[in-house]
């Protein structure tokens, strides 16, 4: 602590004012447009409201939405389950695969930029197209997979998207396809922080590629590892778009975010109920993320 204070004391008053503005303006904007509405949602989670009319239209009903969610809302438990599966898959595949691709493409190999473009390509495709790709690949009679494997007849067709035991994994395949390129870009940028002199030194010491990676590259990548970890959590909790474009998150594809959307977006909506779902998601997310941030931040200091 004394070191911290000492450091701030070195600054002039003007510097302090500049620093406050540099952090303060973005913080104010984020607070006003993200946190104030988020707190508003928490308040609304104790209400019953269809989103229409003045605030005097809102009925306050205490914790009843939370009771109904946990006691009479069948998709709630499956949605948690699916989000957890989503997380496990994102930790196990795109994060390491993105790192592997990034380290390989970081070498001066022929065609590196072309490979990077190919792996990044899924990230830039519009959702409308991804939704159509799901049909092109997985449709029972029209889909590529069933046609290539000869499973298009009523007796033997594989229902990739309609079967609630298969569809999550079918969709996750495409989610991984998009996530890998995304994570790869971050790893690639992070690899720039690895001092090439250290690598050369390790090579001179006779370390093989894997040893160099473990002892030199990975430790230098620690900040990026933190970034990718948090992104994986965030993308898991917010996972939404592919599932929504496939079938709006029904029939085995329920996710927390699709349940929120179901209740909050559209006509005759249940703002209170949907806000309660969002509040649960927010609180759980904070319980995961905040300790992680605090611990890593303290350790870095």
């Amino acid at each position: 602590m004394s070191r911290k204070r000492g450091k701030l004391r070195l600054l002039t008053g003007r510097d302090k004012a500049v620093l406050t503005a540099m952090a303060g303006v973005p913080a104010l904007l984020t607070t006003a447009l993200i946190w104030v509405p988020a707190l508003g949602s928490i308040v609304l989670s104790f209400s019953k409201w269809n989103g229409i009319g003045g605030f005097d239209q809102i009925q306050w009903i205490g914790g009843k939405n939370y009771y109904n969610i946990t006691h009479g809302y069948p998709p709630f438990a499956p949605a948690w389950h699916h989000n957890l599966i989503w997380f496990a898959v994102f930790v196990l595949i795109p994060a390491p695969l993105g790192l592997y691709l990034a380290t390989q493409l970081d070498k001066r190999i022929r065609g590196s930029r072309i490979y990077q473009n190919i792996f990044f390509l899924p990230v830039v495709l519009s959702l409308a197209l991804v939704g159509f790709m799901v049909e092109l690949i997985y449709a029972p009679e029209q889909g590529l997979i069933n046609n290539l494997t000869g499973h298009t007849k009523p007796g033997n067709l594989v229902d990739w998207i309609g079967n609630p035991h298969l569809n999550l994994f079918a969709v996750l395949t495409l989610a991984v396809w998009r996530q890998t390129g995304y994570v790869m870009i971050l790893w690639l940028a992070g690899l720039k922080a690895v001092d090439p002199a250290l690598r050369e030194a390790a090579a001179l010491d006779g370390a093989n590629e894997w040893q160099t990676f473990r002892r030199v590259v990975l430790p230098s990548l620690r900040p990026v590892t933190i970034v990718v970890t948090v992104i994986t959590v965030v993308e898991t909790l917010r996972a939404f778009d592919i599932v929504y474009v496939v079938n709006r998150g029904k029939n085995g594809l329920e996710l927390l975010s699709t349940l929120i959307t179901d209740n909050i977006v559209g006509e005759a909506i249940r703002v209170g109920f949907g806000s309660a779902l969002a509040s649960i998601l927010l609180v759980v997310s904070l319980l995961v993320i905040v300790p992680y941030l605090v611990v890593t931040f303290r350790r870095d200091d």
Binding site: T30, W35, S126, R238, V265, I289, V294, R298
Partner: protein, 288 residues
């Protein structure tokens, strides 16, 4: 000197990359193939078929029917300012968090990072109320309020994306050796000069990576654009794609063609920024 020893490893690496790339490209190539065929052919013969006619008609139709030029311009007016301001704001805040030890750092980091945790839909009801209750002069917004204005859309993009960028950049900045800024302090450089002239140039790789990703997110956004803009003509390019889809019937071949056209600018941006985060430009070399 180790060329002979390296070669088999390089070969198998290329084999792996080529196979993986092909797997990665299958959906895109398949969509492109479908986009080259008229609807009548794929309806009669199925998507998995050859024959009939091939051509760029779906692409030219999508371009004109969706009035893409108009919507591309809308998108530029939204995306470019949003991107620049996001990176500017985020790098400033990250600089403060990463380079100075003060007591609110953890709180700030949580404020920015956790702002990303909520799905957009979760905050839309209160946000809509805020937007309809902030009045703007007509030269800023012809709707007279933040709702249904380009400015409002830019602001929500900046607010929503800044948190993520602060988080990434503050972690990245921690890898920059402290000696650099300490030397500057001895020089008597102001904090803003430390940020602008010393730290930012060293952040080029991460700025380039974030610029690519942020451009992609903001460019492809459909949610904010539809929830906060009610005038169809003010919406961005993603809305043009949606305009090709009907109440019921949709010509997917046409939508695929339109979507592929829409993806081109993002790839160009990626290509343009790519050299800033691939081998060759390293922290070490810019230090020297």
């Amino acid at each position: 000197m180790r060329i002979l020893g390296v070669r088999p490893a390089r070969l198998s690496l290329h084999a792996f990359l080529i196979v993986t790339s092909l797997v990665w490209l299958v959906p895109v190539i398949w969509a492109l193939y479908t986009a080259l065929r008229p609807f009548a052919d794929t309806a009669k013969h199925g998507y998995v078929s050859v024959g009939g006619s091939y051509g760029a008609k779906n692409f030219t139709d999508a371009w004109s029917q969706a009035d893409m030029m108009h919507f591309f311009l809308n998108t530029i007016v939204i995306t470019v300012p949003a991107l620049v301001v996001t990176l500017f704001f985020a790098s400033m805040a990250a600089f403060v968090i990463a380079r100075f030890r003060w007591r609110y750092n953890v709180a700030l980091l949580v404020l920015f990072t956790a702002g990303n945790l909520l799905p957009q839909q979760a905050i839309i009801t209160p946000l809509f109320r805020i937007y309809t209750n902030i009045d703007l002069p007509t030269w800023l917004s012809d709707s007279g309020e933040l709702y249904d204005s380009t400015l409002g859309l830019i602001l929500i993009h900046v607010a929503f994306q800044t948190g993520f960028c602060v988080f990434v950049m503050s972690n990245y900045m921690k890898t920059i050796p402290h000696e650099i800024s300490e030397a500057a302090v001895v020089d008597g450089a102001s904090v803003f000069r430390q940020y602008w002239q010393l730290t930012l140039p060293l952040c080029r790789p991460v700025l380039a990576a974030l610029a690519t990703l942020e451009f992609t997110w903001i460019y492809n956004d459909f949610y904010w654009a539809t929830a906060l803009i009610s005038t169809g003509d003010k919406r961005p390019i993603t809305a043009a794609l949606a305009n090709l889809q009907g109440e019921f019937f949709t010509n997917n071949n046409l939508v695929a063609a339109g979507s592929l056209l829409v993806a081109v600018p993002t790839l160009i941006v990626f290509f343009a920024l790519q050299r800033h985060f691939i081998a060759g430009l390293t922290l070490g070399s810019s230090k020297g």
